[in-house]
């Protein structure tokens, strides 16, 4: 019997509905009040998207010089910066532990270790195998230093918010939005329309020319926001590039296999009424 088109259409539509509603659900979140979210086109979006390495490199600089005073990146190790698909990947150094840039970045951080002879806790320079260190010894210390607020870890921040990269970017650029007249702000709390509820315990972290980019790019607020978002997007999903390229090969293979199976099916059933 002829192949049931209806079945395919129904199944495909159901999948599409799920996909669209899922994506919409995930993308979700506008700002409070009249703030209009700016939807940038990110370099890593789309079926063939990749990370803009130059932007992610600048973003690392922003993280190091601005965000790292309060925010940790605890699920990352320095060597991850040199992995395939990472901002500082160098094909001459496939093992990121050997990558000189990675070694330098690691050495730029101080990590804690135990002195093998005395057993004391000591500080030493980082090596690629080390994880990014905690900024505060514990949550209580973090709160004490930040007026009671706890600066969240940023390793998977882009995945942890509806809207992802757009959310983060807009959060960083929306600080100059005038607050609604009836909003009560206590000291240490600021207005940000992107934040759920409009109130955020973090003061505007960025301002023009806060960092000096090594590649000479003008460090406007929007530029730094976009760059640190690109970096944090990589941090949340470092395997995006591998995933999409394996995905393309897999879909292609499955399509070919589907066609082969379709013709096998037709051949098997050719002389059978059904």
């Amino acid at each position: 019997m002829a192949f049931k088109m209806k079945t395919l259409i129904l199944t495909g539509t159901a999948a599409l509905i799920a996909a669209v509603s899922g994506i919409a659900y995930a993308a979700g979140g506008g700002g409070t009040g009249d703030y209009k979210m700016e939807h940038k086109h990110w370099h890593f979006q789309g079926a063939f998207g990749t990370y803009d390495k130059a932007a992610a490199q600048r973003g690392y600089q922003v993280y190091r010089e601005v965000c790292a005073s309060c925010h940790a990146l605890k699920h990352l190790a320095f060597r991850h910066l040199g992995d395939k698909g990472a901002p500082f990947y160098n094909e001459d150094f496939p093992n990121p532990n050997d990558n000189p840039l990675v070694k330098n970045f690691a050495a730029d951080w101080t990590v804690q270790d135990i002195d093998v002879e005395t057993g004391d806790v000591i500080d030493r320079s980082g090596i690629p195998a080390d994880k990014f260190p905690a900024i505060y010894p514990n949550n209580a210390a973090a709160r004490a230093s930040n007026g009671g607020g706890l600066p969240p870890d940023l390793s998977v921040m882009v995945s942890a918010r509806n809207g992802g990269a757009d959310y983060l970017y807009n959060l960083l650029i929306a600080y100059d939005t005038p607050p609604p007249a009836d909003l009560q702000l206590t000291p240490g709390v600021y207005y940000n329309p992107v934040m759920d509820g409009g109130k955020i315990a973090m003061k505007n972290p960025l301002s023009d020319d806060l960092v000096e980019y090594a590649d000479g790019t003008p460090a406007t607020l929007e530029q730094m926001a976009a760059d640190v978002t690109e970096f944090l997007a990589w941090s949340s999903d470092p395997k995006l590039e591998q995933r999409k390229s394996v995905g393309f090969m897999t879909m292609l293979y499955l399509l070919i296999l589907a066609v082969l199976l379709w013709f096998s099916y037709k051949r098997v059933w050719r002389n059978v009424e059904h």
Binding site: T7, N162, M251, L261
Partner: protein
Amino acid sequence: MSGHPSTYEPKYAATKWMDQRLPIVRMGADFMTFPSPRNLNYWYTFGGILTLCLVSQIITGIILAMHYVPHTELAFESVQRIRRDVPFGWLLQPMHAVGASMFFFAVYVHMFRGLYYGSYKAPREVLWIIGCLIYLVMMATGFLGYTLPWGQMSFWGATVITGFFGAVPVVGESLQQWLLGGYAVDNATLNRFFALHYLLPFVIAGLVGVHVWALHHVGQNNPIGITPKTKQDTLSFHPYYTVKDGFAVVVFLLIFAFFLFYQPDALGHADNYIEADALKTPPHIVPEWYFLPFYAILRAVPDKLAGILLMLGAIAVLFVLPWLDTSKVRSMRFRPVAKWFFWIFLFFCFILGWCGAETPDNIAIPFGTNADGTARGLDFTWLSRIATIYYFAYFVLILPILGLVETPKDRPESITKAILGDSHGAAAPAE
């Protein structure tokens, strides 16, 4: 058809030897030659798809268990390690997470197929009940598995679900604390949830074995619901249905691959990327999409215990469906009135899912605006109530009554006659 006599003849000395001691090759051969109705459509491929899903979840699950650490301090970190450092962990962990959603998608298609074609009716009542048991164990497994990454939704979802047990009169609090291993969801809970999550899929596998045994004893149903009468009505499972199932599996894998490679987080919740925090409740706690309809039923009534009982009742009613539906006609193709009630039921299931995802006080269907500018209309609580009433009415009122009063369309005499057309003008299958 009550089972079917084995036609296997061992051809080699080795297989003859084995056949005399344990007829396992015979079992396989009989499976391959099983006489299946020749008119099965693609809705019937989901059993095979589900088997693939179970195997995939078990394999990826065992692999993940080699790397995952079921301790509150280390669980979230171990999942990150899998995704970042374990070879191909970036593929295997999402395969397991997306695979769970695909598993439930397939099981819902499989169940709705059963509802439409009357696959739960005699002599398949036990087959249907085993299927309901599989569904129940799947739900438990899915819930347990979702707690393991120890994100905000993991923790608070576990808090809500274990909270249900506290609603049991008299022994509720003790029961809940016994389940938790403490006063609240904590490390003791996580550890035992991991152990049980590892166990239950094998319980599912055992139930699937019994499910297929029951199926082979009574034979498959088919879209017109007429039992095969002659050999002409059936075809050997292999190669006809192996190749059809194979094609359906690959189409299913294409959908799976799309989500896995391009939208792995679309079916999940962003809050589960935030580490569990016992002192901070997320603004909107929602379960995974496949539980949303039951979540809506739970929240439809204001009383905690009543909501729980209603939610459990919604699952329990499936078990007794073979006795609720009084119709002598199996397939909805020949039940012109019942068919429409079925489509409305499907529609309301989607509505319940939508309601489960939304805040109960939000307006679902706006009618206009109030004096102060806020929207006015049917809120999600009321929409859930309407949908819940229809859900139960379908099983408890509509199907029992319709079976007695509906005039079904004329059914063909046999599958072969239905396919070939009949000189007496019996109805050919319209869809």
